[in-house]
């Protein structure tokens, strides 16, 4: 900061103070109402603390499978509907084997991938890995998800280019990191520790309606976003 900058800063702060002189400070109104209310919220809330109870996670941990039932189903239903409204696709994998089978079929359409170091071995597509600018598929692990908005929260700790440059983006999301509201997902991201340099919220494929109001996908970022919600642990750092 140059001397000019420091003086300018003080002048701006002084002008703010002068402007607010005599104006009553407005108190903060507390938390806002959420989006999801009623039965869906009650059902989905039941799944919030979902501990994975049986089966094995990708890291070999035991007892990680959620209880399932209405609560979890309601949460995933809301997430799926929201993400589809945003143009994304959703799949659910109950265990590692099911996920691996799904991935083999999915990966057949591609000839290369850029894969986040966070993606556990069984969930990495059997494709040649290329730099993100040349890869056909990017694969990430989300730190959290939000059902009300169909959002995936991605961290720059796993790298950013593979989240953005390939034309298709596949994101693994651990079911127990899926929350009802976006603010719960953001709180989840903060509780992990220091926030990453860039926390990104992806809620659909890249799109624009700037040409004649006709929606075009894949303008700059990925033109396809596929989320897979897992019932097992992904060992997210």
């Amino acid at each position: 900061v140059t001397d000019d900058g420091a003086a300018g800063r003080l002048r701006i702060l002084a002008r703010i103070e002068a402007a607010l002189k005599g104006r009553a400070p407005v108190p903060h109104p507390g938390q806002s109402p959420g989006v999801i209310t009623g039965d869906v919220r009650l059902a989905a809330q039941g799944s919030e603390p979902a501990e994975h109870k049986d089966g094995r996670g990708v890291d070999g941990d035991e007892d990680r499978r959620p209880p399932g039932g209405l609560a979890r189903a309601a949460l995933i239903e809301v997430f799926t509907e929201s993400l589809r409204v945003g143009g994304g696709e959703v799949a659910v994998a109950h265990d590692v084997d099911e996920a691996a089978v799904w991935l083999r079929a999915f990966a057949r359409s591609f000839s290369s991938a850029a894969v986040s170091p966070w993606v556990p071995l069984p969930l990495r597509p059997a494709l040649p890995e290329l730099e993100p600018a040349r890869a056909e598929l990017g694969v990430s692990v989300a730190v959290a998800g939000a059902a009300a908005t169909g959002s995936l929260l991605l961290s720059s700790e796993e790298g950013r280019a593979h989240q953005l440059l390939p034309p298709v983006h596949l994101v693994w999301l651990e079911g127990r990191s899926l929350h009802i509201e976006l603010r719960d997902a953001l709180e989840h991201a903060r509780r992990r520790g220091a926030l990453p340099a860039a926390l990104a919220i992806h809620s659909g494929p890249s799109k624009s309606a700037d040409i004649g109001r006709i929606v075009v996908t894949g303008v700059h970022g990925p033109g396809r976003l596929v989320a897979v919600v897992t019932d097992f642990s992904l060992a997210v750092p």
Binding site: V1, R15, V26, H28, H202, S206, G221
Partner: protein
């Protein structure tokens, strides 16, 4: 940026006469935006959200100094360079120094109304930097050499046919190319720019004081790329963008998306805390420029300070029957429509912005649409009152209203004027061309009253 708000009447007339397609394109686009807003708000407790957002913004504005200092401290703790700019000149000096220090030759930019307000493109170009607007709409108007005509959809005044013709000339696409083909042509040029740019510029939707976070909303992914690929990222932040808490962010993101485009949330939100730290990619330097440029003057105004709640969603433009006729260019300033008409006098001064508060029928639709409940119609009236006080109204209007006041205060004179007006012929005008004048009654109300007829 040069402003032409004083010429609103002439520019509006010219737009209507010379480019009638603008009215059709803008009307279609804004009615669609508005329809999406209404549908999206019907899914949530909109009244509660709007009151909440209004309160949080007023809280932030009445604690502005401490919240900015808190944000600054958090950002600096993460290695962010925080700059304070009092004016456009400060920003120009700062950015020129920055691009020279980094030897930057190429810049990619995400859409930022603040950067339009400050004329950043022109100043970067004069510093020898090649600038790419990367939002598709902004890129189109950059190719055309035009300012944006809408806060959210900068190119809504241009039809598909016009964009086809532009791209055919610039990129050799077929004259009847599909929008996908046109977007792909722009993507090719801009992808190359992203991969080779030395510096990225973005604006900011919300600056979270508690965590020192710059949150930026978009749908294309160009802001994520502009803030991730170049080795230097500069975020231009108006000082009014601050919100206090991390837990406030989610609702602001959702409310803004729902009222701006009818989405539940923007397709991409970048929430930036600092430059890369031991990560595989991301910028090595992050600069946050806190810009005043007239905002503290607005804050000091006992009425107009409420305009600083604005989240730049464009909802008041979309619902405005006056904006719809011309689009934004007639307003002669970066912020157009109802919000532009109340912001311009506060930021540019009444003299420079004078006719804009009159570019309204005072129908009140903007106040109903505003997600942070800015009392736009009341402010329009307030600015009109002040423009009368400052003698800025047209001479004929002043004479007419002075005469009316004089007559209205003197019953005898009023009665005489009533009888006189009955004898005058209707002067033909654009108003009477298309409207029949009602025939006056034989006797005035006052005459009948005196006779006991009523």
């Amino acid at each position: 940026m040069e402003t032409h708000s004083r010429e609103y009447r002439r520019r509006a007339r010219e737009t209507l006469a010379e480019t009638p397609g603008v009215r059709d394109a803008v009307t279609a686009a804004t009615l669609a935006f508005d329809h999406h807003r209404v549908r999206a708000l019907s899914e949530v407790d909109a009244a509660a959200w709007r009151s909440w957002a209004e309160r949080v913004k007023d809280h932030a504005l009445t604690h502005l100094g401490e919240l900015l200092e808190q944000a600054e401290a958090r950002l600096q703790a993460r290695g962010v360079h925080v700059h304070w700019a009092e004016s456009g000149e400060d920003v120009a000096r700062l950015l020129t120094e920055l691009v020279h220090r980094h030897g930057a030759r190429r810049a990619v930019k995400g859409k930022s109304m603040l950067s339009e307000e400050l004329g950043v493109n022109a100043l970067l170009e004069s510093a020898g930097v090649e600038v790419f607007e990367t939002d598709l709409g902004e890129y189109i108007i950059q190719l055309l050499g035009e300012p944006p005509s809408h806060i959210v959809g900068p190119a809504i005044h241009r039809s598909l046919e016009e964009i086809r013709a532009l791209f055919s000339e610039r990129f050799g696409t077929s004259p009847d190319a599909a929008p996908e083909t046109l977007a792909a042509a722009a993507r090719r040029v801009l992808r190359e720019a992203f991969l080779t740019a030395d510096i990225g510029f973005t604006g900011c939707n919300f600056l979270v004081a508690e965590t020192g976070s710059v949150a930026v909303m978009e749908n294309e992914g160009n802001i994520r790329l502009s803030s991730s690929l170049p080795r230097v990222h500069v975020a231009l932040v108006g000082i009014e963008k601050v919100i206090p808490l991390w837990s406030d962010l989610a609702t602001f993101l959702q409310l803004t998306a729902r009222v701006a485009t009818g989405q539940r949330v923007a397709t991409f939100v970048s929430v930036l805390q600092g430059p890369r730290r031991g990560e595989a990619d991301g910028p090595e330097e992050l600069h946050v420029v806190l810009v005043d440029n007239g905002r503290t003057r607005v804050l000091a105004d006992p009425e107009a300070w409420k305009t600083l709640r604005c989240v730049r969603c464009g909802a008041c433009l979309n619902t405005c029957p006056v904006y719809r006729q011309t689009g934004g260019h007639a307003y002669g300033w970066v912020y157009s429509g109802p919000i532009g008409a109340v912001l311009a006098p506060a930021m540019l001064g009444m003299e420079a912005a004078h006719p804009l508060p009159y570019a309204s029928s005072l129908c009140g639709a903007c106040a109903d649409a505003c997600p942070v409940r800015i009392p736009i119609p009341e402010l329009l009236l307030e600015w009109r009152r002040r423009s009368v006080e400052q003698g800025l109204t047209p001479p004929l209007e002043r004479v007419a209203l002075t005469a009316y006041t004089a007559a209205a205060l003197r019953p005898a004179l009023f009665g005489a004027a009533e009888r006189l007006l009955r004898a005058l012929p209707v002067v033909p005008s654009s108003w009477s061309d298309v409207r029949g004048a009602p025939r006056p009654a034989a006797r005035t109300f006052r005459e009948r009253w005196e006779k006991g007829d009523v």
